[in-house]
Amino acid sequence: MIKRFIALVLLLTVGAIFAVLLLGYEPDAELNATARYYADHTAQDIGSANIVTAIVVTYRGLDTLGEVTVLFLAAAIVGLVLSQGRQPASAATRRNLTPVGELLATGSRFLAPLIMLLGVYIFVNGHLTPGGGFQGGAVIASGMLLLLLADPLKHFSHGLISMLESLSGLLYVAIGLLGLFLAGGFLDNRFLPIGELGSLASAGAIPLIYSLIGLKVGAEFSSMLASLTETEEL
C-alpha cells in the first residue's frame, strides 16, 4: 500500500516537472550564438554540406573518438565474457536445429548484400547527406544479422573482423595526428584539399575519417552478434 502510494507520488512529481517544462517552452525564433557560428562558418571552413557531420567529426572530433572507444570497450567485454563458455556447435545441435524457411534463406541471400551496400553508401556520403559512420556501421551490422538469422551456424572469421576493427581504429587516430601536424589541430580535416562544396571528394579528411568510423562500428557490432550466436550451451 505504502509502496503504491510512493510510486504514485513519484509519478505525479515527474509529471509536474514535465508539465512545467512543457508550459514554459517557447521555440527559438533564431539560432543561438554557437549554432549561428556553425551555420555560418561550416561551409567555408570545413567544406562539409552536412553541418551535423562537420560538428561530429571535426569541431567535436575528440568526443567522437571517445564514443568509439566506449563502443570498442563494450564489444571487447561482450567478447571476453562470452568466449569463456564457448563451445563449437556439435553435430547434435546441428541436427536439432529447426530448418530455416525457404523465404528467409533466399531473402537473406538477396537482401544482405544490398543492406551492406546501403550501409557503405551512408558512411561514404556522411558529409553530404544525413547519417554517417555510426548509422552506416549499424546498418552493416543488421545485414550481418540477417545472414546469421538465415544460417546460425555460419562461421565468421573473428580474426578478419578484429583486424579490420583495430586497423580502422589505428588509422583513425593516425589521421587525427596528421591533422595535428599538418593542419590546425587534432582531427583537423584540412590537411587534404577541401574541394567543392557538395561533391563526393570534398571536406578534406571527413569522408576518410567517417569511412573508418563506419568500418570500425560495423565490425564491432558484427563481432558482438557473431559471438552471441556462436556461444551455444553456456
Partner: protein
C-alpha cells in the same frame, strides 16, 4: 510545422504511448518485445518529423533493429534453459 504534420505527430505519440503500455502490461513476452520495437520505430519517425534525420537513422537501426533481435535472442536462450531445467527428456 503545418497542421498536417502536427496531426501526424500527435497520432504517432498516441501510438507510441499505446505501444509502451502493451510492452509493460502485455501477458505474452514476444508481443511485449515487438511492442517495444514499435515504440522505437515510431520514435524514429518522430525524430524525422522534428528534422533530425541523423538521430532517426540511429534509432531505427539500433533501437528497433538490433535491440529487438537481442531481446528475442535472449528470450530464446532463457526458454531453452527453462526447458532443460524442467528435466523434460524429448530433447
Amino acid at each position: 510545422m503545418s497542421v498536417l504534420m502536427l496531426t501526424m505527430a500527435v497520432v504517432l505519440c498516441i501510438a507510441m504511448i499505446g505501444g509502451a503500455f502493451v510492452a509493460i502490461s502485455g501477458k505474452s513476452l514476444p508481443v511485449a518485445i515487438l511492442a517495444a520495437g514499435l515504440v522505437s520505430l515510431v520514435a524514429s519517425v518522430l525524430f524525422l518529423i522534428l528534422a533530425s534525420p541523423d538521430v532517426a537513422m540511429t534509432e531505427a537501426a539500433i533501437g528497433s533493429g538490433l535491440t529487438t533481435f537481442l531481446f528475442f535472442f535472449v528470450l530464446g536462450r532463457v526458454r531453452k534453459g527453462e526447458h532443460d531445467g524442467c528435466g523434460s527428456d524429448h530433447d
